[in-house]
């Protein structure tokens, strides 16, 4: 059976691959623990209470970022678009860092700050949703620069200890997500389902807005829905894990290279592929120099940049 053509077999194959990767990643850590037969109660608790929730968080966040990236790319008609392109991550970072400054004692405040910040950013972007793709992108890039400036200002105001925290948050951290795992998995599944429902319309949008409309798609409606959906998913991913770069940019392109550009398969593959990539990156982040940890956002960028550059050269050839 050709898994490129059959979404059910694609789904099943990717689910199996994800489970296999998760199982291996679960065993890896400071000490290798066989996930199928932990030798002690202690090991079993390390597996299921420490590593497993973190793996699931990585999977859900990675999948959400990749889905949001695929959506932003088709919404903006630009292959370089990614989940943070319209400044949502910047405003979330401003929110998170503000929370660190003004409520330094409450751990949950950082997530709340990020979530509120992300939605402030989305609300501002929605004002520009009626602009054409090119101008919307331009507005987003300018907004991102604005949020970056505000962020620099806040960091300048932070006491020394806070600077380290702020940087750690901005580089992405899956170790202390304030969001429950079931919520993240639910959002992942709901996002994939929404994407699949919209997939035929999204395919038509690849032909440009006029062609899509002439084929019966309500384009203004779809654009607004897509902007809201992609931004909301990005906001949740950022709330859970801070800003993790390149997953949202590279994974959809990799999947297009492997499976073609129709959205049914691209979205299924991105939801799983982004999840697997982030599980691997996070496992590397916590094992390479264990017991210390590398920031996961740094690893995804180190993996992502060469892959993407190779992709650009390949496209050009």
């Amino acid at each position: 059976m050709n898994i490129r053509k059959n979404p059910y077999s694609l789904f099943c194959v990717l689910l199996l691959i994800s489970l296999a990767v998760a199982l291996i990643a679960l065993g890896m850590g400071e000490h290798w623990i066989n996930p199928l037969s932990p030798s002690s109660d202690m090991e079993s608790r390390i597996l299921w209470e420490l590593r497993w929730p973190r793996l699931l968080t990585a999977f859900a966040v990675g999948g959400m970022l990749a889905l949001a990236g695929a959506w932003f790319q088709v919404l903006l008609g630009n292959p370089l678009a990614e989940p943070y392109v319209l400044g949502v991550a910047g405003s979330a970072a401003v929110g998170a860092v503000s929370a660190m400054i003004f409520m330094p004692d409450a751990a949950w405040a950082v997530s709340l700050g990020a979530f509120v910040g992300a939605w402030v950013g989305i609300t501002v972007v929605l004002f520009f949703s009626r602009l054409g793709s090119a101008r919307l992108l331009l507005a987003g890039v300018v907004l991102a620069a604005f949020w970056a400036a505000v962020l620099m200002l806040l960091i300048a105001l932070l006491p020394e200890r806070g600077v380290a925290l702020a940087y750690a948050w901005m580089m992405g951290d899956l170790s202390n997500s304030a969001l429950p795992i079931w919520l993240l998995m639910l959002v992942w599944a709901a996002a994939l389902a929404c994407g699949l429902i919209l997939s035929l319309s999204l395919d038509k949008l690849l032909l440009g807005e006029k062609h899509a409309a002439a084929l019966g798609v309500n384009v203004p409606h779809l654009r607004k829905l897509l902007l809201l959906l992609a931004s909301a998913v990005t906001a949740l991913a950022v709330t859970a894990a801070g800003t993790i770069g390149f997953v949202g940019l590279v994974v959809p392109h990799l999947m297009r290279l492997l499976l073609g550009s129709l959205h049914q398969s691209v979205l299924i593959a991105s939801a799983f592929g982004g999840g697997v990539l982030l599980m691997l990156a996070d496992t590397a982040a916590r094992t390479v120099i264990s017991p210390a940890e590398l920031p996961v956002g740094v690893l995804t960028a180190i993996i992502g940049v060469p892959v993407f550059l190779w992709l650009l050269l390949r496209r050009n050839a």
């Binding site: 790319q73 088709v74 008609g77 630009n78 292959p79 395919d203 038509k204 690849l206 032909l207 440009g208 006029k210 062609h211 409309a213 002439a214 084929l215 019966g216 798609v217 309500n218 384009v219 297009r256 073609g260 550009s261 129709l262």
Partner: protein, 250 residues
């Protein structure tokens, strides 16, 4: 089939068409002529429901356009215009499947008509503009809508495919479709037009039978070009102006 009543079309501040009233019936080929920026493409977009900045009425079958959903219009009206973007690597086959809504025998027929079978698996970005234009004409074929709106269908095409395209348009009209098309080439217009709409670029419109409209007297003041000949031979007189008598008369 499609009726325009006191249609006034604008884009931003610019008044493109001040008042157009006409009725186009099935089986007809209507050619829209006019200088660049006169509003030919915008008129087609308005008729597709993609350009809402107009006053007056557009009546499709028996209802005005705003009474239709996007989906309903797309079953009646097929539009061919700018070449679609190529960034995301769609193939010819995929692009046509989006247009044909499951009618695969139509798709095979269109691929064969425009000799696109060898290109079916190729990405649109790997094709030349002429090949991509053939894909777009094939896409309007597979739509199977009673009304075709075509914006410069012969652009980018080589001579043989221009001829094939015009032949297809005439045949389809004879089988009962309404075809409204923008063209720039006067002999091509003469070859297929039943009626002609001329936009003068200043808001004025004239509608008439092809044989009355495709004359030097009617078109010279609008295009500001010296024309020679009539009907099928109507063309700009630029040869003699620049080149003298270099070639022998046929």
């Amino acid at each position: 089939m499609i009726q325009m009543q006191a249609l006034r079309v604008q884009r931003g501040d610019k008044q493109l068409i001040t008042s157009l009233t006409m009725q186009a019936k099935k089986g007809e080929v209507v050619v829209v002529l006019g200088p660049n920026g006169a509003g030919k493409s915008t008129l087609l977009l308005a008729l597709t429901g993609l350009h809402a900045d107009y006053a007056g009425e557009i009546i499709l079958q028996d209802k005005t356009l705003p009474h239709y959903s996007h989906q309903e219009i797309s079953l009646q009206v097929a539009w061919q215009g700018e070449l679609p973007p190529t960034e995301f690597g769609l193939t010819v086959q995929q692009r046509l499947e989006m247009a044909c809504s499951g009618k695969l025998e139509k798709l095979a027929q269109a691929l064969a008509y425009f000799e696109l079978k060898p290109l079916a698996k190729r990405a649109l970005g790997e094709l030349s503009s002429g090949e991509r234009q053939r894909v777009e004409i094939a896409a309007i074929m597979v739509r199977d809508c009673p009304i075709w709106l075509m914006d410069e269908p012969t652009a980018h095409l080589d001579m043989r495919h221009q001829v094939d395209c015009l032949k297809l348009m005439k045949q389809e009209a004879e089988q009962g479709r309404l075809i409204i098309t923008v063209l720039h080439d006067l002999p091509q217009a003469a070859a297929i037009a039943d009626r002609v709409v001329v936009l003068d670029g200043l808001g004025g419109v004239e509608v008439g039978l092809a044989k009355d409209m495709l004359t030097a007297k009617c078109l010279e003041p609008i295009f500001h070009v010296k024309l020679k000949g009539n009907g099928y031979d109507l063309m700009p007189a630029y040869q003699k102006e620049y080149h003298g008598e270099l070639y022998e008369k046929a």
